[in-house]
């Protein structure tokens, strides 16, 4: 994920200081890893360095001094460019589940103590438990749209994992056979 562009996007709602941007981020992306304040700060400095954002001013408001940032015209152009750019559809498969299943099949065929079928069942249980949590979250009365969108996104991806896991479970016998016969 491009933190620069996400922060630029959050700045479109109006000038803001670092802590406020972190809070807005965590609200809009509730299932994402919360942004570290240090990361917000260094990203804002880089945006300023590159002319995509600028310092609007500072206020103290009784507490420590806070720097307010706003997006520049160049920042708007950059944001529009990023939004219009398609993301490459996952060119490589890098995923723990996938790696474990492939290695478990190889290991089992070689007579090692590995049980891909049992692993797939246990992983399904864990996935389903997480999917129940997310479903409860998004269907809770008063769930806001940010929560619903991010829960939907997470649910769709867990669901995709599950489909692959179910299909693979169905192919296990044939796969093991194939490896043994090589």
């Amino acid at each position: 994920m491009s933190t620069r562009h996400v922060l630029l996007g959050l700045l479109t709602a109006g000038p803001s200081h670092g802590y406020d941007l972190k809070r807005r981020h965590d609200e809009r992306f509730p299932q994402a890893r919360p942004l570290a304040y240090g990361q917000v700060y260094t990203t804002l400095q880089r945006l300023v360095r590159d002319g995509l954002a600028e310092v609007e001013g500072t206020d103290a408001d009784g507490g420590p001094e806070r720097t307010h940032y706003r997006s520049t015209d160049k920042g708007s152009v950059e944001l529009a460019h990023w939004l219009g750019e398609i993301a490459p559809p996952a060119p490589f498969v890098t995923n723990d589940i996938f790696a474990k299943v492939v290695v478990a099949i190889l290991a089992e065929a070689a007579g090692e103590p590995a049980d891909p079928a049992a692993y797939l069942r246990a992983q399904r249980t864990a996935h389903m438990a997480r999917m129940r949590e997310l479903t409860a979250l998004k269907t809770a009365p008063g769930a806001d749209l940010a929560t619903v969108l991010s829960a939907d996104y997470a649910l769709s991806h867990l669901d995709a994992d599950l489909r692959w896991m179910t299909t693979t479970a169905g192919r296990l016998a044939a796969l093991t056979e194939e490896i043994r016969n090589v």
Binding site: R132, T135, T139, L155, S156, D159, R163
Partner: protein
């Protein structure tokens, strides 16, 4: 809602063969009062057959189904019909709406059979059609509705009598994701409010995630997904086909 006290339905070692096909081969499960249980598994694994056995529609070749203190297989045909009418709401996988009746009359019918007066029955039927977003189709006959609309009318019919258990065989099979979400939200909410238990058959993990718990059927046998359930089932499974 994890079932705590006595289960509402206890099925043990269910076997059912159709000719040379073993649809169920010692399936066991427990349904708690008010519990929403998802049943998943590959096509042909025996899900619909299990549901029909639990609801007393099909008599298993062996094994037992205990519902609310009654051995379902020992009941007469008439008693089982009565039980289905008073306590169960059933959504069949391939619908079972009466082709000659409008959506409204299909949904009102179970109430009329239970002795509810016509105006009241139609009012309640209208409410349920509304909850599932098909009030606009109230006057259409099943042949004039889309597949997903007919499915929602069937679900309204299953819920209209306020059953103790709803058996829903693929309630969202013909629905897009958003409509499915609305249907599931309504189903779960109604079940929670009335304390009714739900057996939910689905191929869709996102639909199964509305349930409290999932069991997976494989080749006619129930595989439990959670430790407490495993305890409940293990003895029956170890005993196998007795």
């Amino acid at each position: 809602m994890t079932p705590s006290t006595a289960p509402l339905i206890t099925a043990r070692g269910l076997e059912k063969a159709y000719g040379r096909t073993d649809a169920l081969r010692g399936a066991s499960l427990t349904l708690g009062a008010g519990e929403i249980l998802a049943v998943t598994g590959a096509s042909g694994s025996g899900k619909s057959t299990l549901l029909h056995c639990l609801a007393g529609i099909v008599t298993p070749d062996s094994g037992s189904v205990r519902y609310d203190g009654k051995q379902v297989e020992n009941l007469s045909e008439a008693q089982r019909t009565e039980l289905r009418r008073t306590d169960f709401g059933i959504l069949f996988q391939f619908g079972q709406l009466i082709p000659e009746l409008s959506a409204m009359d299909n949904v009102a019918l179970p109430l009329l059979l239970a002795g509810v007066r016509r105006a009241a029955a139609h009012q309640q039927a209208a409410d349920w059609l509304g909850k599932f977003g098909v009030y606009g189709q109230a006057r259409l006959r099943p042949g004039e509705m889309s597949g997903g609309q007919a499915q929602r009318v069937s679900l309204a019919r299953a819920l209209v009598t306020g059953p103790k258990v709803v058996f829903a065989d693929e309630p969202t099979g013909a629905l897009d994701t958003l409509t499915g979400e609305q249907v599931m939200t309504t189903l779960v909410q109604s079940a929670r409010e009335s304390g009714c238990a739900v057996v939910l058959i689905t191929h869709d993990a996102q639909v199964a995630a509305y349930a409290d718990r999932e069991v997976v059927l494989r080749d006619g046998v129930v595989k439990a997904d959670e430790p407490w359930a495993a305890e409940h089932f293990s003895r029956a499974e170890v005993r196998g086909n007795d």
